[in-house]
């Protein structure tokens, strides 16, 4: 099976009617898929359906050919990791942040994997720069040993220098065999990074 995820005629309702309606698409197991579209088109909403931070009001979302609702939701979320737009750090050190994801995690190896200096391992997480915090968010996601990574505009809160580094890191994770779904409003980012582009049109 080449598809990792599939949306089948999905509808998600908002307060003033559907945010997404009749959405059907597949996302490949291999490579990086960029989800692009105008602001308010429902990209984030669609991304969140993949690890059940939200459920569709109609239609189905499939993971490896099976409805995501048939999996244990807590295990599903560990397999399909979600990293949001704004980096989130938890109280405590960088090592403690990683241990929250996986108590037996090798913190130093994870920091090396996301390009953070290993000297940061005992640093308080709330003392990191925004770029470092986003790398920590990625390291925490990787600590769960996921099969897929959902990234919701992961560079939108970063400066240009940090942005380039994170883009390289994400591309490297995809090349390493991880299914990556990237929501972005930036056509340049989609064109340069993605193996496939999924256009989401605003619901009329």
């Amino acid at each position: 099976m080449t598809e990792r995820f599939e949306y089948r005629d999905v509808r998600v309702d908002g307060d003033d009617g559907p945010i997404v309606e009749g959405f059907t698409a597949v996302i490949s197991r291999v490579g990086l898929t960029a989800m692009v579209g105008s602001s308010g088109a429902g990209k984030t909403t669609l991304l969140r359906l993949l690890n059940r931070l939200d459920d569709p009001d109609a239609g189905q979302v499939l993971l490896d050919g099976k409805d995501v609702r048939e999996y244990d939701v807590l295990q599903l979320r560990r397999r399909v990791q979600y990293v949001g737009q704004v980096p989130v750090t938890f109280p405590g050190t960088v090592a403690e942040n990683l241990a929250m994801a996986e108590p037996s995690a090798d913190a130093v190896a994870l920091l090396e994997r996301v390009g953070l200096p290993t000297a940061l391992v005992e640093r308080r997480a709330d003392a990191l720069s925004v770029g470092e915090a986003q790398r920590l968010s990625l390291a925490r996601a990787l600590a769960c040993d996921p099969e897929a990574l959902l990234l919701d505009e992961p560079t939108s809160a970063l400066d240009t220098a940090s942005k380039g580094g994170i883009e390289q890191l994400i591309r490297g994770l995809s090349d390493g065999g991880l299914t990556v779904v990237l929501v972005t409003h930036d056509p340049r980012q989609a064109a340069e990074m993605a193996d496939a582009v999924l256009e989401v049109e605003a619901h009329q």
Binding site: D54, Q75, R77, F90, A101, A141
Partner: protein
């Protein structure tokens, strides 16, 4: 056993039965002071002060007649009086927490369970008698206190989860359950609900002589009798509030997440 009547003979002065409605009318001059202060400093609370004054008069007058009736051989009505109190407290607390799904049910459960369990323990242990004269006043204290605790816990927990929903969802994304993901804010909300009573208990006698004790002393009881009752009241409120905070916190977490460990949509769409 504490008999909830002030019958001590040790005092030389008792206010019991000596305050007439004319005296109450004279005390209104102090409300007038508050109205003038509000007016002069443009605080804008004159209307609220008048409403509060009128309501307190009407409500206490009414409950006075009701209690007189119940105490004079109609003890079977005790449960109805307590039920009305729980209902009123539920409505008040539920309205305060109206942004929480199922707010009235949460308030009813927290307040009723706090009152029933606390009064139950006091009666079963033989600390208070089952007489209406004991159960109604003590029940009203628990209910009023549990009402405040329930409101504080519901509002704080809902507001915190909405404000920190990115952190909450980051925790959920790591495979945490809704209870695990909400735990830092759940704890904070319970502390918010329980701390006022704990602080009040810590300073009792040093900062203020609390209501039950003051009432007994004014009615002519000895200070030591009043103290024993007050201690029971304080311990009762500590227990009752802990119970209310526990039930309100658990129930609020359950209603702010779906059974699939997702934040409810109303919470996800709050601007942050």
């Amino acid at each position: 056993m504490i008999v909830a009547t002030a019958t001590s003979s040790s005092s030389s002065l008792s206010l019991s039965g000596s305050i007439s409605f004319a005296d109450v009318g004279l005390a209104l001059c102090l409300v007038a002071v508050a109205v003038v202060v509000s007016r002069v400093r443009q605080v804008g609370l004159e209307g609220d002060l008048l409403v509060a004054t009128f309501r307190s008069f009407a409500q206490l007058l009414a409950i006075g007649y009701v209690l007189d009736y119940v105490f004079k051989g109609h003890g079977a009505l005790t449960l109805i009086v307590l039920a009305v109190m729980v209902g009123t407290a539920t409505f008040t607390s539920g309205r305060r927490g109206r942004l929480v799904p199922g707010h009235y049910a949460i308030s009813a459960a927290a307040i009723a369970l706090a009152a029933a369990s606390t009064l139950g323990v006091l009666v079963v242990l033989g600390i208070i008698p089952t007489a209406a004269r004991a159960v109604i006043p003590l029940g009203s204290m628990i209910i009023a206190s549990a009402m405040n605790t329930t409101s504080l816990v519901m509002v704080r927990l809902r507001d915190d989860l909405a404000a920190h929903r990115r952190e909450v969802e980051a925790r959920l994304s790591l495979g945490q359950t809704s209870h695990q993901a909400a735990s830092p804010w759940h704890r904070a909300a319970m502390r918010t609900g329980m701390l006022p009573t704990i602080d009040q208990t810590k300073v009792v006698g040093l900062v203020a002589l609390p209501g039950a004790m003051t009432g007994m002393i004014l009615a002519g009881a000895s200070a030591s009798e009043a103290i024993r009752l007050q201690l029971v009241v304080m311990y009762m409120l500590l227990g009752g509030n802990a119970f209310a905070a526990l039930v309100a916190g658990e129930a609020t977490v359950r209603r702010l997440f779906t059974s699939h460990h997702q934040l409810v949509r109303s919470l996800r769409r709050v601007a942050i």
